[in-house]
Amino acid sequence: MMVKNEPAETAFHIADRLKIEGPWDVFAERARRYELHFNGRQIEMVRGPIELEGYGLRVFRYHDGKTRVGFLATTDLSEHGVSETAREATALGEYSTFPAGRVALPPPGQRHPSVEIVDPRLWEDPAGTLQAYVDSLFHAFDGRREVAPSFGSVRATLTETSIANSEGLRVGYPHTTVEFEVAVKSFGGPEGAPPGEYWVNETSRRVTTATLVQRVDDWCRYARDVRRASPSPSGELPVVLPAPILSQILPMVIGARFTGWARLRQIAPEIDTPWGTESLDLLDNGLVPWGIASAPMDDEGTPQRSRQLLRQGRVAGILYDALHGAAFGTPSTGNSVRGTDITGYRDWRRFTGAPNDTSSTLEVRPGAGGTDTELIEAAHDGIWVQQLGWAVPDPISGAFGGELRIGYRIRGGKLAEPIRGGTVGGVVMAPPGAPSLLANLAAIGSHAELSESVLAPSVLVRPLTVAGGQG
């Protein structure tokens, strides 16, 4: 099956109609969205196509050694709309100041690497693929007793991104995103026992049914374990965090603090200072296949590549977009990202936001910690975190934490009873010498797993603070 690899030319058409001086850039998206929502095993809503086409125009002007940036996003693609957008963006820039000299927008002719971010089956037949996936999901529950999906949805977005700038750059690429949600309910059994639920909410680049039965097995087990879980213990304990938990925690803090934005405000870590344990290698790698923040280029059109952030625990790099790079006289590292902000919220309508410098896909290099079983053995007496309510870290202070929705007690180096309730928390990164998640990694597993925008193995943190109901 072939995927059309020619991008939509929305940005090119807008660029052709612009009658203003450079520098400027246009980031455009043409997106189609399809959704299926279900209640139990009944489809309750079918959506699509939800069609969206729009662009963001950024205009740069220079004044007194500083840069003025005007930005405006719109869905108005008409000739008049383009003309008004250009006029308004330029006018807005009059009230902007940024401490940078001339911004180096990416020129044409650069090689953009390829990265797998299009699900071809989904691209060709989105509605049919989603229906087939939901059918497979329901089928995976067949024959299971006292457990069922209570509701859920699958939403696919097929986007053609295009970028143009006043240097003559005209590039683009297609990509797919799938948001999946299902609540798995466990019920029945002893009279009066309340139901249990395991809520799955994840974003990926493709629809995969190959491992669905195994995953449903796991979800059902977690839903059952919720019903029999004991209160969490309390204290400073060894804690094992798998990749899906790290994907909730790392991007918001690393993506805020290891950046030109943070450096400008003097809150970025200094190069070559030790902010992580010696065994930690952390990279920003926008070329990780199927990562939801992976792409051939960043949102200014700079080619993606891999960048080391921590090498053996020492700070090795800072991330820049073109604007923040110009503030420090350094080129962009390909980390311009639109539609996200310091809270970590990622809008699927990326064209609506001006670029920020932040991380793409974060990669924690596998360590010598071995399998999850070996990490659990190393923890000896602690907890395994399966799901937190919402870790939602503070990108500035680095504090994170959340309610334990389901986890497991580790006793004598083995997984023991399920636990639930209370909180698990700490600080992601702290100045050299102070305790933090990055500095307290007692072991890094040897097998990495991709979870949304993080490729990481499970890690053992010794310790984190657990506040539960047992002393």
Binding site: M45, G93, Y95, V466, A467
Partner: protein
């Protein structure tokens, strides 16, 4: 500060598309007994200022429409971001194809709205009159108040306004039009020392005009900046189960996460709410009342009519400790034998409709803060909620706050850093020992997701409240 002549283009009046939508209805009614459309257009401007940069932007100028029809046993929707006759016609054609494939349409559950009304009152002094220059001048003043405090090396001020137009029509004759003007402002002083960074914040978000900016005073900003500096040296919070006093912002988040999400009746229909069997039961003390009110004047979550065309109103969720009602759209109301409450909302024209909150709050009691602290004896005061998440099936909740104060021997003592509260909602309700007086309900602005998506503006608020919960660092 006068309006500078930027000459931004005006957004078009969505009512001008009424004839196009009517034509689409005529086509679609051949396949379905019910169809509706929601058209939306957004305008606005925002400005972010810190010591290094000033970044103005217009709100994304998004407009579009979503057509919804009842197929056989399900809703079917198609949307477009192009509001022109050809695109609307194409969307209607796509929806027609989908309906035809489903076969003859049955009647959807519940009664449709037949409301015909318009609400389009602009503020007397809209913030837009200040222009970008006026907003920049105000922001620089506020930033100066924050950075004037020793220890504050950086800060950020954000200010903005928006006007959202929504035009709704259905095939039962409803026709509502509303224009919702909102303004927001926040100042975030950053304190830095030896690589450690802390912040505090003062924020407002409301409907109305520039007069609300007067709530951000030099005294309030200075106090918040001093708090940010103090947080650099604050100790971690106490951990474990203890007495907790929630400040108004945390009480509002509690109302939202506990009896807000738990009473969105789509969770009842999914048989996913631990609260459903408790409808009509006593769940809290006599002095506890929790309500949702989409008609609250000035509320961040206030709208005039929901996205099914039903007017918004106050709905008591817990009245004098008794769980009395859920929040409904037409489908859930029909399933549970009641009336829609005006809580059917879409995040935007691209997003599906869910049962959602508007402004959710705890009504005041008759304690003072001092009395609540004395009653708590030992525990912690939680201040400035930053996030929360519900657990409709399991009945738990998580609320995170920026800071707090220890309570020792009935008195407020040292400042502590950010923390998370967790626990079972029903246990928390049973343990409520007091709710404070409050002269005027002020709702905090927030954005609420259904799950982690479909964010829309909601308000939450309330007085101080004393209960018991598990607390840990976060």
């Amino acid at each position: 500060m006068g309006r500078e002549p930027l000459g931004f283009t005006e957004m078009s009046d969505l009512r001008s598309f009424e004839a196009e939508f009517s034509r689409a209805f005529l086509r679609l009614e051949r396949h379905t007994p019910y169809v509706d459309v929601l058209a939306e257009s957004t305008e606005g401007e925002s400005l972010v200022v810190d010591t290094k940069s000033s970044t103005p932007s217009r709100q994304p100028k998004l407009s579009g429409a979503v057509l919804r029809a009842w197929g056989t046993g399900r809703w079917v929707e198609v949307a477009t971001s192009s509001l022109d006759p050809e695109s609307i016609g194409r969307a209607a054609h796509a929806l027609e194809d989908r309906l035809a494939a489903l076969g003859p349409g049955t009647t959807p559950p519940g009664e449709p709205s037949t409301t015909r009304k318009e609400w389009a009152d602009r503020p007397t002094h809209p913030l837009s009159e200040e222009g970008t220059a006026g907003m920049a001048a105000w922001s620089k003043d506020v930033l100066g108040w924050a950075t004037g405090v020793p220890g504050i090396g950086e800060g950020q001020v954000r200010i903005g306004w928006s006007e959202v137009q929504r035009f709704f029509m259905n095939s039962a004759g409803a026709r509502t039009y509303q224009l919702v003007p909102r303004i927001s402002a926040v100042v975030v002083p950053l304190a830095m020392e030896n690589g450690r960074v802390e912040f505090d914040a003062e924020a407002l978000g409301t409907q109305g005009g520039r007069e609300h900016l007067e709530r951000i005073t030099p005294e309030r900003v200075t106090e918040v900046a001093k708090n940010a500096v103090a947080l650099l040296h604050a100790k971690p919070p106490p951990t474990g189960e203890m007495s907790v006093v929630l400040d108004p912002s945390t009480t509002g988040t509690f109302a939202h996460e506990s009896f807000g999400h738990g009473t969105e009746a789509d969770q009842f229909v999914r048989d996913r709410s631990y609260l459903r069997p408790l409808l009509g039961e006593k769940v809290g003390p006599e002095f506890l009342t929790i309500a949702d009110d989409g008609s609250l004047p000035g509320g961040w979550g206030t709208i005039y009519a929901d996205d099914e065309g039903f007017p918004c109103r106050r709905t008591a969720l817990v009245e004098h400790g008794q769980f009395v009602s859920g929040l409904h759209d037409r489908v859930t109301a029909a399933a549970l034998g009641t009336r829609p409450t005006g809580n059917a909302r879409r995040a935007d024209f691209l997003s599906r409709l869910f049962v959602r909150m508007t402004n959710t709050y705890v009504e005041p009691g008759d304690w003072s803060l001092e009395e609540l602290v004395e009653e708590a004896k030992n525990g912690v005061l939680l201040v400035r909620a930053t996030s929360g998440i519900e657990d409709p099936q399991g009945g738990q909740m998580q609320i995170k706050v920026k800071k707090g104060r220890r309570i020792e021997n009935g008195r407020l003592t040292e400042l502590v850093t950010s923390m998370a509260l967790s626990g079972k909602v029903l246990d928390f309700l049973r343990e409520i020992r007091g709710v404070s007086r409050q002269a005027k309900l002020n709702t905090d602005p927030g954005f609420c997701g259904k799950g982690h998506t479909d964010l829309l503006p909601v308000g939450s608020g309330g007085p101080y409240l004393l209960s018991r919960a598990i607390v840990g660092p976060a």
